[in-house]
């Protein structure tokens, strides 16, 4: 009886010890290194002044950012919008802010 109990315990230990040590090493480093995130292009960092518009890399970046901007604009569902916006009560944007907003869109 005692012998069979020892045998069972040693069998369990044989399975458990390697699996625990393996799982410990798997979590030993940052799991975020393995995470694949579907990132959107960060177009805010594009410096147009330093870009050569004949360079395929610059053209590709512009195309991507323009497509992304178009997509996010198209995502707005106008049919479901409440058309009761009262423009008369809205503050007008000053020229500086308007320019900044335009720059951010590109």
């Amino acid at each position: 009886m005692k012998k069979s109990l020892i045998k069972t315990i040693s069998k369990i230990a044989l399975v458990l010890i390697p699996s625990i040590s393996l799982s410990m090493t798997a979590t030993a480093h940052d799991p975020s290194l393995h995470a694949k995130k579907a990132e959107k292009a960060d177009c805010s960092k594009m410096d147009h002044s330093k870009m050569d518009m004949k360079d395929p890399v610059a053209i590709a970046m512009m195309n991507k950012c323009m497509k992304q901007a178009d997509k996010s604009n198209n995502k707005m569902d106008h049919s479901k919008m409440d058309m009761k916006m009262d423009h008369s009560k809205m503050k007008t944007m000053d020229e500086k802010k308007q320019k900044k907003a335009d720059d951010n869109n590109y």
Binding site: E39, P56, A60, M61, C65
Partner: protein, 177 residues
Amino acid sequence: MKMLKWLLILIVLGLGTTATIIYSGNVDVAADEPHSDLVHWLLETTRLNAISKAAENIKVPDLTDPELLLSGGVDYGFMCASCHLKPGQSESDMSLGLYPAPPNLAVSDYNDDSDEYGDDTQADRNNFWVIKHGIKASGMPAWGKTHDDQRIWAMVAFIKRLPSLTPEQYQILTAIE
């Protein structure tokens, strides 16, 4: 007759030595233990010559189309960057753990090594062949089984420009639309 006898002895000795090495179990196959200089040279020389010969007749298309960079960039980000790294990154779990170590394609030393590949066009051919067919016992898969030639050429076009990209440019080109 005597010559033939010696030749036979040499062949038997050679076969015997090879069989002893194979069946002894004494060869260290661990990836964290590098090959000896001789074995490393043998394998590297064989690999470089085999790839160049296999790829020599491949016709390289125009790789300057910006759309190729977009398609190739997304594929590179998903399929290659974990081993072959990206701008601003010097190592990863895979680049440290694999042996032979995968080349860092984000630095110019690799792509500019014209001695290794002959010239720029040959480097493109070789990259296409390696991506399509993979390399035995190296960790490099044959992407041609699941990707058509057009997508592989797009990756070649992206790899060509990769060393000159900043981390910001890389992020935009490899991001999902």
